[in-house]
Symmetry: C2
Subunit: 321 residues, 2 copies
């Protein structure tokens, strides 16, 4: 039975079921997603990333409440790809906010990644979940990632708009993580603006951004000057300005043609990832009995390197055609 | 000109050059690595992972100094896969230790990952660097990763022995990250043992480990009870015990046959990763002019999903044979 009509009709339970099927890598999930794919492309994908402790979940909570309180509010979905997110079960280890402020609103849908993308990788699984939400009619999809690992940075950088979050007093080690994150930022936010050190943190980030733009000339190339905002998610201070900056960035992307460029780059990465998985699956299942096992055994025995044994397997398969 | 004889003869400059060639994904690097591969398999790969700020680099520094001060000391290589590591250039953002204590010792070799594995992924690139160090005769290779991202956890979990580091006062958000890390730990360390809260942190981890072993029965299955140690890397307190635990784990792995099982699992993942890359490269380059571009265009236009377009490309290629 196809879930497609129910998902398109706005049935949230059907959507939740589809997301589980996709996350578990079932053929049913992928078939349904294929059928829904022509309905995608409308959602604004907003990545929110930053080191643990910068207050990502609290800020998303505030931002979503604010956006929903507007006239003609967008329907909003949230995907949490963050092992420390309260959505993802990290909350069992501490008393954290549970986003229960958002729970009563039917225009909001929250999903955490329970399975960290074992089947095909974190980025691909997340992207498929987001595509299903997009097809289901959500106009904004927030993707929350912890932002201190390569896979998590890849997930965030696939968004249309990337918000990088910092907070004062995170310590030297975490400061150093930010250099990589700033490279993918469209909007930079210093959260916990009520803490001492917030202005110092903002000043340091401003310098880093100016240095970066002087070196890369990124802002001149694409015509977007990265705004630096200070927020206090716990009180809501500065969150209106953040909502405006996200809207401005969307308009910039569409006006400049950058929206299409980002979509194209993301699609190309996705096709490449699917192609790698499918080709390898087909190749391995077409191997004569025991040959792949023997290849592994020879590498374990150090008779041959992984690279050389793969060339050998590929050459043999081409000759046999 | 082959670098192989020089690397095997212990020439460190030749090794450094080879590592750069591997990191940049050059054919020369991969050819040299293939020739060296039969010399690998001797090094004890030790992953050290933990959240930023737990003191990984300081601890590795102490541990390596201590191991090198033993009678008949092992030759030791260190790979830092950590954007906040002082090895990796993160130090420019703060005044951090520079591992200069280790610099004068010819039995120690330090390498940071400058390039985050764009060519084939972080795990694969790191594994190739470690293989080259192994062939060059290093008896221990420490792999330092920040441990808060999926790719970084994958790198650490490919080691023979995984040391997971924690420290008191890391905050709730970072506490929550640990749940995932504990699953891959062979040894758990609370560093910064001189800070208030170290004993509390140790007690919490002990409970988490006992809970984990009650649920998973992991320690009973493989006969290794995960030790929980408290260290103060800045003074060296507890580092002797950590060195012993690492040695004990190596002996356990070899005695129980687990060493071979872990090698096999790692090799299987590596062959799979190489196979996926090579098959996709060959497939794309064999496509008729414009066909792959057209596939991308159709997905961007939402005419077809990434999964469906890949099936179409593969089916067409099979028919044309």
């Amino acid at each position: 039975m196809s879930l497609v009509p129910s998902v398109l009709a706005g049935d949230r339970l059907a959507l939740a079921r589809l997301l589980s099927l996709i996350e578990n890598g079932t053929p049913e999930g992928l078939q349904n997603l294929s059928k829904l794919y022509h309905q995608t492309g409308k959602a604004h994908r907003v990545g929110i990333t930053g080191a643990p402790g910068t207050g990502k979940s609290t800020l998303v909570n505030r931002l979503v409440q604010l956006l929903r309180a507007q006239a003609d509010p967008p329907e909003i979905a949230i995907v949490a790809v963050d092992p420390s997110s309260p959505f993802t079960g990290g909350a069992i280890l501490g008393d954290r906010i549970r986003m229960r402020d958002l729970a009563g609103d039917p225009g909001i849908f929250i999903r955490s990644m329970a399975n960290r993308g074992a089947l095909g990788g974190l980025a691909r699984t997340t992207s498929s979940l987001v595509a299903a939400m997009d097809a289901a009619g959500f106009e904004m999809v927030f993707i929350e990632t912890v932002g201190s690992g390569q896979a998590e940075v890849d997930v965030a950088s696939a968004a249309h708009t990337v918000v990088v979050l910092d907070a004062p007093g995170m310590g030297d080690a975490i400061q150093a993580l930010k250099a990589g994150l700033l490279e993918i930022a469209d909007i930079v936010v210093v959260n916990k603006g009520d803490l001492p050190g917030a202005q110092t943190a903002a000043q340091a980030l401003r310098s880093a951004l100016e240095l970066g733009s002087a070196v890369n000339q990124k802002d001149e190339v694409d015509g977007w000057e990265i705004p630096l905002l200070v927020t206090t998610a716990s009180t809501g201070e500065g969150v209106t300005e953040l909502a405006s900056a996200i809207g401005d960035h969307r308009q910039f992307l569409q006006r400049s043609g950058e929206w299409t460029l980002r979509e194209r780059a993301r699609v190309e990465r996705e096709i490449g990832a699917v192609l790698r998985e499918r080709l390898a699956e087909k190749f391995i299942s077409a191997q004569p009995d025991g040959l792949y096992e023997e290849a592994i055994r020879r590498v374990v025995a150090r008779e041959i390197s992984p690279g050389a044994v793969v060339e050998e397997l590929i050459d043999r398969a081409s000759e046999e055609r």
